[in-house]
């Protein structure tokens, strides 16, 4: 175990992937010579030479070439600096990468990994603040993960790279540097998928992911002091989706809250709620509650962002209300 930041854990995972698998490539804007705008890829170009390189600001070329290189046996790891920028080239993931294996009945595959990050940060503008995981989670053929901890930033990235299908790992930049955590670096690479109960509780199941995991955990502590015992599930992967863990928890708690930073309507929280309404309606003792950004664009000013984005206090209030329902 080594103490490291989420960003350093990513770096370690990339280092391991490049070291262990000769067919990996790492590229994107600014990733090589200077190690990435967030430093996640620092030192890798020096260590791995031209397998790590900088690209022009051409997301279609980045993603498209990843598809082609993957078809020919490479295992490209490409960076889309902000998830918002994926929208200039979404075709290459949704129309191209996702189809390769299916349409060719496995004769061709596209085992590429996209690393990107998302979310609002104080001052970030409306074009750099979106949480777009729902777009990818709605795309059959893709694998979608959102690590919430340094350990998962490391492990899930490796799982994605090892995965034989196109995967997108959506990081959250508020997590990159904000603290260090002990990270185990040499465990075997796990297959993609699997949620995790990160706090046990008897009264409410909170399903959440990415940066909201910590807020939910903190809110659960507040709620505990008001007598509401909250179980928190870090969903980790949206595709494949581990409903088993969610439903097992719900069997115990009978109350469901989903928390995400994406805006509510059409967010992936809807899918969790829908699955429960379909497959486990009887388990529910109270209405499902989604805590999310209301349907709005995201303003830049921090105090305006705060008025929209669920805070720990906001989640705690909702938990207490749901617990007392």
């Amino acid at each position: 175990m080594r103490e490291m930041t989420y960003a350093q854990a990513i770096n370690a995972a990339l280092d391991r992937a490049l070291g262990e698998r000769a067919e990996t490539l790492l590229y994107g804007e600014d990733v090589a010579k200077w190690g990435g705008i967030f430093g996640c890829t620092k030192g890798l170009a020096t260590k791995y030479g031209d397998r790590v390189f900088d690209t022009p600001i051409s997301e279609s070329a980045i993603l498209g070439s990843a598809v082609g290189a993957a078809m020919l046996g490479q295992r490209p790891i490409v960076e889309i600096m902000w998830i918002d920028f994926a929208l200039v080239a979404l075709d290459q993931l949704v129309n191209q990468a996702a189809n390769v294996r299916y349409v060719s009945r496995g004769a061709l595959t596209a085992p590429l990994t996209v690393r990107t990050q998302q979310g609002a940060m104080p001052g970030s503008c409306a074009q750099h603040s979106q949480n777009l995981e729902a777009f990818f989670a709605h795309t059959p053929g893709l694998v979608v993960g959102l690590p919430a901890t340094a350990q998962d930033a490391h492990d899930m990235l490796l799982s994605a790279i090892w995965c034989d299908d196109p995967a997108i790992v959506i990081e959250n930049r508020t997590l990159y540097f904000d603290r260090t955590e002990p990270v185990a670096l040499d465990s075997p690479v796990a297959p993609v998928g699997g949620a995790r109960v990160v706090r046990e509780g008897a009264d409410i199941t909170v399903v959440t992911w990415s940066a909201m995991v910590r807020k939910a955990l903190a809110a659960a502590e507040s709620a505990a002091s008001e007598g509401v015992d909250v179980e928190v599930i870090d969903l980790r992967w949206l595709r494949p989706l581990d409903m088993h863990t969610v439903l097992s928890s719900l069997a115990k708690t009978s109350r469901l809250m989903v928390v995400h930073e994406a805006n509510r309507t059409g967010g992936f929280g809807a899918e969790i709620a829908a699955r429960v309404a379909e497959d486990a309606l009887d388990l529910l003792d109270a209405p499902v509650r989604r805590v999310a950004v209301p349907d709005s664009r995201i303003p830049a000013a921090p105090h305006l962002q705060q008025a929209l984005i669920p805070t720990k206090e906001h989640i705690a209030r909702e938990l207490v209300m749901l617990g007392k329902f």
Binding site: L25, P56, S60, A61, G68, A69, R105, A107, C163
Partner: protein
């Protein structure tokens, strides 16, 4: 009779064997035979479409056959080829068996992709055909990736990506040109300029229709060639492939041609001017080449091709429909990922 067998008619799965050949070693009659095979294949597809055996949009390459034939004579086995939805001829030129491509269009289990791809989006990697693409321009960046892989593997492969004139206005193609040139990738950008994008004349939506110039700002050598002459195409592609294999980066070839069967089957072609079709039909690759070939030779080749295509389409029609119970297979490598 001089044809030396670009049609591997004796094999279990008849198709074209162009990659192993060299253009200069072939007679005009061989070139004719290869192009005719594609032509007759597509005419049969048209019948099947009009009969309702094939359904959906079908884009024929009729009139443009000299480009895939010429290009594949210049390529080697192992050189990946990426085409557009107008790709039957490209697959065949790569060597895809006629019956397997018929089968694909007919949704047969024996189709190259078991009916998953259909006319506009199939691949046949066993023959180096990395597939069609139904998103205009999307194949260009993908081919760059294949070239990146080839470069890394030092495989000596040259990658060919084909797209239409209209595709040159798609941003992804510009990005691919710069990307390939910046990384000196072994890729050949081949633009089939048939002057039209669906119903629209290229000249109506560009300030200049000299598309080969589009590589200029990226220092990509560009040529405009007669795309209705297979030898000319082969020469240009061979030069570009040499450049690619030598590590000198991408090339852009603008092959001037005409499609003489509409954008897709069912296109009324109202956009044609008076006499336009007659004019272009008089110069299409088969007509042009046939002019100097003995009638008896032509007859023999035509007979052989017709026979093969009848056999291939019949065998495809007789094959089983793709197994619908497997329709959800192959979404992921691992069944556990379907959840």
């Amino acid at each position: 009779m001089t044809a030396i067998g670009v049609l591997s008619g004796v094999a279990a799965e008849p198709g074209l064997a162009l990659r192993e050949r060299h253009c200069r070693a072939l007679q005009d009659l061989d070139l004719y035979e290869a192009m005719l095979a594609i032509r007759v294949f597509e005419e049969r597809v048209r019948e099947l479409r009009l009969d309702g055996d094939v359904v959906g949009s079908v884009h024929l390459e009729i009139g443009q056959e000299a480009i895939p034939v010429g290009a594949l004579l210049a390529l080697r086995p192992g050189d990946p080829v990426f085409s557009t939805y107008r790709g039957h001829g490209w697959a065949l030129a790569c060597g895809s068996p006629f019956a397997a491509v018929f089968g694909e269009l007919l949704g047969r289990e024996t189709g190259v992709n078991g009916g998953r791809g259909g006319s506009a989006y199939f691949s046949d990697v066993a023959h180096g055909f990395y597939g069609e693409n139904s998103i205009v321009g999307a194949g260009a960046p993908i081919a760059c990736g294949a070239a990146l892989a080839a470069k890394r593997a030092k495989s000596g492969a040259a990658v060919l990506t084909v797209f239409g004139d209209g595709a040159m206005n798609q941003g992804s193609v510009s990005e691919a040109l710069n990307f390939a040139a910046a990384l000196k990738l072994p890729v050949i950008f081949l633009c089939e300029n048939n002057r039209y994008s669906e119903l629209t004349l290229l000249a109506d939506v560009v300030p200049s229709d000299q598309l080969y110039e589009r590589g200029g700002p990226y220092r990509i050598p560009g040529v405009r060639i007669d795309g209705n002459d297979a030898r000319t195409v082969a020469a240009a592609v061979a030069e570009a492939a040499d450049r690619a294999r030598a590590g000198d980066g991408p090339s852009l070839i603008e092959a001037m041609t005409e499609r003489i069967a509409g954008h897709y089957i069912g296109d009324h072609e109202q956009y044609r001017g008076p006499g336009e079709l007659e004019r272009i039909c008089a110069d299409e690759p088969l007509v042009r080449l046939a002019r100097n070939l003995p009638t008896a030779d032509l007859r023999e080749v035509q007979g052989r091709v017709a026979h093969l295509m009848r056999r291939a389409s019949t065998s495809a029609l007789e094959a089983d429909l793709a197994d619908a119970s497997a329709v959800r297979d192959h979404l992921y490598a691992d069944g556990a990922l379907y959840a």
